[in-house]
């Protein structure tokens, strides 16, 4: 989070301090976003989002239609149907629920429906585990969703609201998932600053405004909404004649998404005084860093804290937090890491049979550089295992040793951080 340099429209004193855990913060954000339809199925550690939101519905605090579905597959299907009628739709899930939802995730993005979903990142079975890691997020990385990873509860609140703005931008029109680490954020209480309802209403420009499309069988442009009075084919068959073109549009939309994420981050800064790097990446102490640690999600705080201590001792080390995992900001990453000598990429999920998923993205971002840093991969925190300050301390000492040696042997390219050997 960057410190204040201008007077925001709603400075801190005009915001209310609330005590929420990550799930409650997401539910509260959704309440303020004038959402028409919420369809969700409960799963730990997402449950509180659904519980809290159904309380808002029961109390008549929102106009939202809450659809109690029988599975996550149905939750996303209901959101797709709702969004296709022009409604603002939200759902939330994680882990096995997200796995069950995968088929419909591709339909939501393929139909270009701006649905927002909160994912409380949790490990995948087997062995059965309910705690936080990023395996479920990596499961949906090619599903055509904009994926934003948050670091704390305040950011979970802020990003959930921003997600609707990004998704519904006329040039984006993509579903957005907000990833908060299960238990680390979903169940951790934090004091956070929330905005008044009217500020959010104004920020989002009121209810969702569907985009217009030009189809051959109507003279005028029509709204992309299902309407019995004005029929429109949604979910058409497209073979080798048109499938490629429709997928190309999706890929191109991610270029706009990259720009819109930074714009929305800036707009949020002017509104609230809070921003997260440039919206895509959130660097810390990177300007003259020789060693960089690349990470996503809730562990960033711990790492930043230890890095700060090493900085005080004169060690040139920085942290690069990836906030936007999809679109992956490869140009920004290359810019920030070009003068670094050693990069450690931390993956909170294993990709059996290959190196970490985030590691692969970082490597491909750096490939176009003339002089490339050494890059090592760490697998850490699987199944909710804590990344303790001691462990980060040991990691940095190990990296300093690698830097002194000046090369990484092939068998040391991927390492485990915090596993019993």
């Amino acid at each position: 989070m960057t410190t204040l340099k201008l007077t925001p429209k709603y400075p801190r004193e005009k915001q209310t301090i609330m005590m929420f855990n990550g799930d409650e913060a997401v539910a509260y954000a959704v309440k303020q976003c004038y959402v028409d339809v919420v369809a969700a199925y409960p799963i730990t550690p997402q449950t509180i989002i659904v519980e809290k939101f159904s309380e808002f519905v029961a109390n008549g605090e929102v106009h939202t239609e809450f659809i109690h579905v029988e599975s996550e597959h149905s939750a996303m299907s209901a959101c797709i149907g709702a969004a296709a009628t022009g409604a603002r739709a939200f759902t939330s899930t994680c882990s096995q629920g997200l796995a069950l939802m995968v088929e419909t995730l591709y339909i939501a993005s393929g139909l270009r429906l701006p649905i927002v979903m909160a994912v409380t990142n949790r490990a995948l079975s087997a062995p059965i585990n309910i705690h936080g890691d990023h395996s479920d997020a990596y499961l949906m990385r090619d599903a055509g969703w904009v994926m934003l990873f948050v670091e704390n509860v305040q950011e979970a609140y802020d990003t959930t609201i921003q997600a609707f703005k990004i998704a519904e931008h006329p040039e984006v029109q993509l579903p957005v998932s907000v990833h908060l680490d299960g238990f680390f954020l979903s169940h951790t209480m934090e004091n956070l600053h929330v905005l008044p309802d009217e500020a959010i209403y104004e920020f989002l420009g009121g209810p969702r405004k569907p985009v217009k499309v030009k189809v051959d069988y109507y003279d005028e442009e029509v709204e992309y909404t299902l309407n019995p009075a004005r029929p429109l084919s949604v979910g058409m068959l497209a073979f080798y004649d048109y499938y490629f073109e429709i997928k190309t549009q999706q890929v191109e939309a991610f270029k706009h998404a990259e720009r819109v994420i930074t714009e929305v981050n800036e707009e949020w800064y002017k509104l609230t005084g809070r921003k997260y790097g440039d919206g895509l990446v959130d660097p810390y102490a990177m300007s003259d860093a020789e060693i960089a640690i690349v990470v996503m999600g809730s562990s960033t705080g711990t790492i930043r804290n230890i890095v700060k201590k090493f900085r005080e001792r004169g060690v040139k080390i920085g942290v690069l937090r990836i906030r936007s995992y999809r679109p992956f900001p490869r140009r920004r990453v290359a810019e920030l890491l070009k003068d670094v000598k050693l990069v450690a990429v931390l993956d909170r999920a294993a990709s059996p049979g290959t190196l970490g998923a985030l590691y692969s993205d970082i490597i491909s971002s750096l490939y176009t550089l003339k002089e490339r840093p050494l890059v090592v991969n760490y697998i850490y925190g699987l199944g909710g295992r804590d990344l303790s300050p001691q462990l980060v301390h040991r990691l940095i000492e190990e990296l300093r040793e690698d830097l002194r040696r000046g090369f990484i042997p092939e068998e040391r390219l991927q390492r485990y951080l915090g596993v019993r050997e």
Binding site: G110, L111, R112, L113, Q173, V211, V213, K214, V215, D216, Y217, Y224, L232, S233, V234, G235, M236, L237, A238, D241, Y242, F244, E245, I246, T248, Q249, E252, A253
Partner: protein, 92 residues
């Protein structure tokens, strides 16, 4: 009809062409042929056809070969066996 580029078509493949332009009849391997002399116009075929590709104009029962996929349900259900399934041999 010339095919359009990705810049020209609406997003998400929404109504980029009429759904009636998708001639599913091209998928057919066997085609139903109605013997009009045997047909009693009971319309059981019309009721069972999943497409629906059985057309009824009040006088005759006909098959719409643009959309009939050749599933054979009509021939199976016809109580007087007036419909026979004939191999396509590469289309009409």
């Amino acid at each position: 009809m010339s095919l359009k580029s990705w810049r020209e078509i609406p997003i998400g493949g929404v109504g980029f062409k009429l759904s009636t332009e998708v001639k599913t009849g091209e998928w057919r391997a066997m085609k139903p042929v109605i013997d009009q002399n045997k047909c009693t116009k009971c319309l059981i075929c019309w009721l069972f056809c999943p497409e629906p590709a059985i057309m009824w104009d009040g006088v005759r029962v006909e098959v719409n070969y643009d959309y009939c996929k050749g599933c054979g349900i009509c021939a199976q259900e016809c109580p007087v066996k007036a419909i026979s399934m004939v191999p396509e041999f590469g289309g009409e």
